[in-house]
């Protein structure tokens, strides 16, 4: 170490190489890499040996094999003769469906409860408080069991039903049944009309904002957008000769006992597993979202509300135009993690056998024994969903963030 001795004259504090932070840092990092490589090598070699002993072929070749089990809810084509890969795809879409609908419902309930929690009305605020404290302190799994076993099993049996909303929706042990839209040839125009309406809404709101900024005059954007959204498809529907109708579920009340109940394939059926899971997820996550919303609104200083009322803005407008946009900056980051939690928690579907990714994957795992591949798929899917959601929400958060000089 000749350089070391030369340096010692310049920097007398250097005693040993181990006291140099950079050398020490390098040493620790090399050590860490070595330990990780050793552990990884151990795991891989042990796993290979174990798999060989158990005669399990590793790799994703099994995805082509015939699954041979039925799935009660499939958004893409699936039958018992489909492959394992197709089965996992069905599970993945079911996970997405539960997550999207759950997030939608949870956001609405959460915002309503969060605002109700801050209400001046004592009864409303206490109900919101009780809801939050009750729901978020009970395990989600227990709530799923409650909705599935205690509520949806207590409804009438297959040969009977509860009807509501003017006899259009029916609930029994087989799930929720309602009218199903049937699209006939030529109904594509309705879809185009919906797209045109959405484009029209965007253009309209931009124009209205520009005009308000220029002249100060307001335009009823909400009502005209609503009119566009309902009116255009309606017009397309009438002009193309009504190529769409609703298929109502047919219920046989008389006749031989075994043929009573809903006729197969009539109407639109939502299975009870889906109902229970989505309800439980939405209600559970909403209690957390409500607390986030409350904290966010409370973070907006009271001076903002006072200034708004000094300007003569009505309370409803104050909330919508002054408080919520500022509160959103505080709300969005924790809201993102709640959305992620909901998506991850949808894996509890396995407890009530709703065919989501984990549930279907569990069946495949039991049939093929391909534990590593299946668990790898699960983790990869949830990880990429998490990363996608958080990057989207980060983008949104940046858009909403306060622009400072």
């Amino acid at each position: 170490m000749s350089s070391e001795t030369q340096d010692a004259a310049v920097k007398p504090a250097r005693a040993s190489l181990m006291n140099d932070p950079q050398v020490r840092g390098l040493f620790y990092q090399v050590l860490l890499v070595l330990v990780l490589v050793f552990l990884g090598w151990q795991i891989v070699s042990n796993t290979m040996a174990n798999l060989e002993r158990q005669n399990i072929a590793s790799g994703f070749g099994f995805m082509e094999n015939t699954a041979g089990f039925g799935i009660i809810q499939a958004l893409v084509d699936y039958s018992e003769t489909s492959s394992y890969g197709q089965a996992l795809l069905v599970g993945f879409f079911n996970t997405l469906l539960v997550a999207v609908i759950g997030i939608f419902l949870a956001t609405i309930i959460g915002f309503v409860v969060g605002i109700a929690r801050l209400s001046n009305n004592w009864v409303i605020s206490k109900i919101a408080y009780c809801y939050i404290e009750l729901v978020r302190n009970i395990p989600l799994l227990l709530q799923i069991f409650f909705w599935y076993f205690a509520v949806l099993r207590a409804v009438p049996g297959k040969r009977d039903k509860w009807s509501f909303l003017f006899d259009t929706f029916h609930l029994n042990i087989a799930g929720l049944r309602g009218p199903k839209p049937v699209f006939e040839p030529g109904s594509g125009a309705i879809g185009y009309a919906v797209i045109a309406a959405i484009i029209g809404m965007v253009v309209l709101s931009r124009w209205a904002r520009k005009r308000q900024e220029a002249t100060g005059r307001q335009f009823p954007v909400f009502w005209s957008s609503l009119g566009l959204l309902i009116g255009l498809p309606m017009l397309a529907y009438l002009l193309t000769g009504m190529p769409m109708h609703f298929d109502l579920p047919i219920f046989n009340e008389t006749g031989p006992v075994f043929s009573r109940g809903f006729e197969l394939g009539t109407g639109f059926n939502v299975i009870p597993e889906f109902l229970a899971l989505t309800l439980a997820l939405a209600i559970y996550t909403a209690s957390f979202i409500a607390e986030i919303v409350r904290a966010g609104i409370q973070a907006v200083s009271h001076g903002q509300t006072e200034a708004a009322s000094a300007l003569g803005i009505r309370p409803g407008h104050t909330l919508r135009l002054v408080v919520i946009p500022q509160a959103m900056r505080v709300i969005i980051p924790p809201l993102t993690s709640q959305y992620l939690n909901l998506t991850k928690n949808s894996s509890l579907a396995v407890a009530i056998a709703f065919p989501d990714l984990v549930s279907v994957g569990g069946t495949v795992l039991n049939q093929t024994g391909q534990a590593i591949e299946i668990i790898g798929i699960w983790m990869a899917v949830y990880l990429s969903l998490s990363l996608l959601t958080s990057s989207f929400m980060n983008w949104y958060n940046q858009r909403m963030a306060l622009v400072e000089r």
Partner: protein, 383 residues
């Protein structure tokens, strides 16, 4: 001045009148908070109706119509079409199972000793005014786990069985719930601190490894972690090495909550002003003494509420172990439904109500405690 007599000077002070009835007392409060406008009045009425329609059946079921004593299912069956309420007699009969699982009856005192020791050490730890926190923490976090381990699993010295071995397959109910939750949180705290420090480290590889570890575990659901620990972990080990099932679950839960703990601790580390680090370095402290003596005591104290919240989440998540075939409190209750002795239409509802009550009491009191600590820590600089 002729009209001087028109003026009057009051020489006696007028009696003080109470505020008008309409603005004070119960009526004033109601006018202000319940009926201040037409919309508010409608909301109040609707709210009361909702609360009544939810609470009345619950009270009717859980208290008024409930069956409190009975020998078997006949006590909880509806007589001549009457209402059936909760069957608390069934819960009472099953209570030992819900608390201890299938732990041998003659050895249950060991579980009770562990429960008592835990409470004895935890309560003074949680009350800020009690002194000797350091000794207490040492006893709770180091001595107690060792004692509890031997008490619960058994102790064999040589050929002599001092405490008979009890397989973990016989554990169940609240015992498993508490073992998983408490072990998970105690073991994940040091791991979480290590990863939080790693994430803030200036060494790129250590930082990278910490970030990957934290984001990986936070990105996957606990269910897949549990499947991994129960199905995949045995594959990773060399031939002949086997793990206890409970231990495998504990490993998974610990790694999972360590990632969440790391993020909580990182929040605390970020809240410590830079001057504290610089001050410590100016005193000539090295990295670990600086962390141990200056930074961590402040950071950990700041994040006690966050740690308690992580614990609440973990406590609720222990229910998931029933999916990989273990019997925690919920699993034990779920499995008791198959017993024909108490099979009634209300058995499921009663069981779930009981489980909800137990979990709620635990989680709610913990969250109150976390708020209490938060308020205590915020004294002085809370606006």
């Amino acid at each position: 001045m002729a009209n001087a007599e028109v003026f009057q000077v009051r020489t006696v002070e007028a009696p003080q009148l109470p505020a008008p009835v309409s603005t004070s007392g119960v009526i004033g409060w109601m006018r202000l908070n319940l009926f201040s406008s037409i919309g508010n009045t409608i909301l109040t009425v609707v709210g009361i109706l909702i609360a009544y329609s939810l609470l009345a059946p619950l009270i009717q079921f859980a208290l008024i119509d409930a069956v409190w004593v009975g020998e078997d299912r006949t006590a909880c069956l509806a007589q001549d079409g009457g209402h059936i309420g909760a069957c608390w007699a069934y819960v009472g009969d099953y209570l030992p199972q819900f608390i201890y699982g299938r732990y041998p009856t003659e050895e249950i005192w060991r579980v009770n000793v562990v429960y008592a020791l835990f409470a004895l050490l935890l309560v003074p730890m949680m009350i800020p005014a009690v002194p000797f926190k350091g000794t207490n923490a040492l006893l709770l976090l180091v001595v107690f786990p060792i004692v509890a381990y031997f008490l619960l699993t058994g102790l064999v010295i040589g050929d002599e069985e001092i405490l008979p071995i009890v397989e973990t397959a016989q554990w169940g109910g609240l015992l498993v719930t508490l073992v998983i939750a408490v072990t998970g949180i105690t073991a994940s705290l040091p791991l979480g601190v290590a990863f939080a420090l790693g994430r803030r480290s200036k060494m790129p590889i250590i930082k990278f490894v910490s970030v990957v570890f934290i984001e990986f575990w936070r990105g996957v659901p606990l269910i897949t972690v549990l499947f991994m620990s129960s199905v995949m972990l045995p594959l990773f080990l060399p031939e002949g090495v086997t793990f206890d099932k409970l231990l495998r679950v504990l490993v998974g839960v610990t790694l999972f909550s360590a990632a969440y703990m790391a993020e909580v601790v990182r929040g605390g580390l970020q809240a410590i002003p830079k001057g504290q680090y610089e001050g410590a370095m100016a005193l000539g402290l090295r990295f670990w003494p600086m962390m141990y003596l200056i930074i961590l005591p402040q950071a950990l104290k700041l994040v006690i509420p966050g740690i308690v919240n992580t614990f609440i989440g973990l406590f609720k998540d222990t229910t998931l172990v029933l999916i990989v075939g273990m019997f925690d409190l919920l699993g034990q209750i779920q499995s008791s439904f198959s017993d024909p002795t108490w099979s009634t239409p209300v058995q499921g509802h009663t069981g779930y109500l009981f489980a909800a009550l137990v979990f709620w009491v635990f989680c709610f009191s913990m969250s109150r405690y976390s708020i209490f600590i938060e308020n205590k820590l915020h004294t002085g600089h809370k606006r």
